[in-house]
Amino acid sequence: MEGAENAFKVRLSIRTALGDKAYAWDTNEEYLFKAMVAFSMRKVANREKTEISHVLLCNVTQRVSFWFVVTDPSEKHTLPAVEVQEAIRMNRNRINNAFFLNDQTLEFLKIPSTLIPPTDPPVPIWIIIFGVIFCIVIVAIILLILSGIRQRRRKDKGPSEVDDTEDKCENTITIENGIPCDPLDTKGGHVNDAFMTEDERLTPL
């Protein structure tokens, strides 16, 4: 039967999947397998009469691997590969679960498994996070700019009130190296050379 037209090879990796809890592959497990295949075939139209005895296994190796084929009720012909493939694909999940295995550890060679696509949320997650951070940054920028404008407006209004009282003079003094500059300028008159500011001493070439 090996390599026959409608036969499929199956490969199980029980120890890889279950480690210590691996069960041994014996005739009872083979019976379960035949039952699962028959179950899958019964779900296909026109094949509701498939019995466990119609599923034939052979060439069981240590691997564990074997070939199987499904015959029709007359037991003269084997069912076409396309039908068997279709049936197994439909019920792959049930078959896997019966043996505590998955698509990689219970392989049907020549029957490709349908892969689960990664779930795509309607709005990609990254855009949500991007939007949140974007809004925070924009709000922070606007706040900083507005507070800067307000500070500058307050400073512009400040010097105009200084002329009223001498006390308010202290607020607007800018200090360069401990030497107040403003009083020299706002009081008018001449600049005293002895109070020259640091910057003017750095004469460019």
């Binding site: 490969r11 199980l12 892969l115 997650i125 991007f130 951070i133 360069e176 640091e198």
Partner: protein, 551 residues
């Protein structure tokens, strides 16, 4: 009425600003590569020598100039000599080039950071092909992390000639990156001073966490042993010394004008000598620290890949010869192979052709640098760790902090001369100048978000700054020593800080450092002239090819 120059709130802010600027992505993705290429532990010898001979003196020089002249690069050099204002302009132009392309890295960092909040991580699985029976071919041929980088992030075209269109996703991230930079530099030193507390210290927290995680990973010791075993014969290789000198030079960020800009906001009595030594030592130790982390991650990744390869070979043998599942393990693999070769010679020779030769050495010796290391190798290692989302978020957050810190320095280098100049600052407020700069750089930076953008990025990364910086720093050193006069500068520093200049600095500034820079400059110039065709690496559907730049 003279407005007082804004100052750092305390000297710690200045030190943090310098550290945050100097410690950048190069420490993480360039130094480990150099260490691996040039002899592992023995590379530290030329590196430390160059640090003492070249790094510290030049750093101190720039800080001293900035602190003394109390102006940005253009004003500072004009003060030294009106003929030298070109040096300042050159610094500003180079900084502008750098800020244009450097922020794209932050954009990519944001992209990966935002994608780290998914389960599973998007670069750990390949997308499915059309009829859902297998994975996308490009992803199968390469790996899922490479696919995510080249196809999903960059959507790269096969060659630089094919420009493609601007990809809206990286473009959005680039806009966000520039907005964040604008937010940090908006108020000048006032805001920058607060931000650098975070950008300087947070990367160290993350690196420390990664160090502990990295050292406890399976296979980390393989990577560390491989890296740190010194290969003494590399000391005789002149390339090792040249690369050590180059790495120190560019890692400290000399010549851009950022250090001058930062130092100009200092109190004149600030002890910049102490700060120069501290910053350069911290920069170098961060490089070494980061390379320990990187190599434990390398070791983990290499061991993981090696074991995966072994498992594939085991599976192949088990399936071909129908052996019992679990019979062949890594320890008895060789014996089993020998037995099978003698028992079933013909079948074994067929299978042998499909078997890959697994070798831990070859996995470890794949040395990667640059964006490949940061975005492919690291993300591949992260996807195999437990709780990979957490590690991914931490890692890309650290990359962002490092990148942002360097961007702050770059923009400071451009903005300080602009705000110092009376012409511009009298017409526009500080916020508007910074805003204009960010807008222009962002608009030009859109080039790097096109499909061929990564190739342009590589060109800029390799060629935009190297020769110009060497020339700028050379002229700076010669100008201060010979044009302004070393004695005059010495007395200026003494008047400013109250400390005499050590003889060591004088010798370095006047003699050794200029000679070093001249030799580096000559080497690189001759290298460019002698190399026949300039090449770049192109991604062709699933593999990296070397393609020559057709001029």
């Amino acid at each position: 009425m003279e407005k007082a120059r804004p100052l750092w709130d305390n000297p710690l802010q200045f030190v943090f600003a310098c550290i945050s600027y100097a410690v950048g992505l190069g420490n993480v993705w360039r130094f480990p590569y150099l260490c691996q290429m040039y002899g592992g532990g023995s590379f530290l010898v030329p590196y430390l020598i160059m640090l003492i001979v070249e790094g510290m003196p030049l750093l101190y020089l720039e800080l001293a100039v900035g602190q003394r002249m109390r102006q940005g690069s253009i004003g500072a050099w004009r003060t030294i000599s009106p003929y030298l204002s070109g040096v300042g302009v050159a610094s500003v132009v180079v900084s502008f080039f750098l800020s244009m392309y450097y922020n794209v890295i932050n954009a990519w960092g944001f992209w990966y950071l935002f994608h780290s909040f998914q389960d599973p991580l998007p670069w750990s699985v390949c997308p499915l092909n059309g009829n859902r029976t297998g994975y996308d071919e490009e992803c199968e041929a390469a790996s899922s992390t490479q696919y995510f980088w080249y196809r999903k992030t960059l959507n790269i075209s096969p060659s630089i000639q094919e420009n493609g269109v601007v990809q809206w996703e990286p473009a959005l991230c680039l806009i966000l990156a520039w907005l964040l930079v604008y937010l940090c530099i908006l108020r000048g030193t006032e805001s920058t001073g607060k931000v650098v507390y975070f950008t300087a210290s947070l990367p160290y927290c993350v690196l420390f966490i990664y160090l502990i995680r990295g050292l406890t990973l399976h296979g980390a010791t393989n990577g560390l042993a491989y890296m740190f075993t010194p290969k003494m014969e590399q000391l005789a290789n002149p390339k090792a010394w040249i690369n050590a000198a180059t790495q120190i030079f560019f890692s400290l960020g000399l010549g851009f004008g950022s250090l001058i800009a930062f130092a100009s906001y200092n109190e004149p009595s600030n002890n910049c000598q102490k700060h120069a030594i501290i910053v350069s030592l911290i920069n170098s130790s961060t490089s070494i620290f980061a390379s320990i982390v990187t190599f434990s991650i390398y070791g983990f990744k290499a061991t993981f890949n090696y074991e995966t390869c072994l498992n594939k070979v085991i599976l192949l043998l088990t399936n071909s010869f129908d052996l019992e599942d679990g019979f062949v393990t890594a320890s008895n693999l060789e014996q089993v192979k020998g037995y099978l070769a003698s028992a079933y010679p013909s079948k074994y020779s067929e299978v042998f052709l499909q078997m890959k030769n697994c070798s831990l050495e070859s996995e470890l010796s794949t040395a990667v640098q640059g964006t490949g290391l940061a975005f492919i190798v690291y993300s591949e290692a992260i996807k195999n760790m437990e709780v990979s989302q957490l590690w991914s978020v931490l890692y890309f957050f650290m990359l962002l902090m490092l990148g942002m810190g360097s961007m702050l320095g770059n923009t400071a280098a451009i903005l300080t001369p602009l705000t110092d100049s009376k012409v511009i600052s009298s017409r526009l407020p500080k916020e508007a100048i910074s805003g204009l700069l960010c807008l222009v750089s962002c608009a030009i930076g859109m080039v790097f978000t096109m499909e061929s953008g990564n190739y342009w990025f590589d060109i800029f990364n390799d060629y935009a700054a190297t020769l110009s910086l060497l020339l700028i720093v050379l002229v700076e050193t010669l100008a201060v020593c010979y044009l302004y006069g070393l004695r005059r500068f010495e007395s200026d520093l003494k008047a400013m800080t109250g400390r005499t200049l050590n003889w060591y600095w004088k010798i370095m500034w006047a003699g050794v450092s200029p000679l070093l820079i001249i030799s580096l400059f000559v080497f690189y110039l001759s290298d460019y002239i002698l190399s026949e065709a300039l090449q770049y690496q192109a991604w062709d559907a699933s593999q990296l090819l070397h393609v020559s730049l057709l001029t």
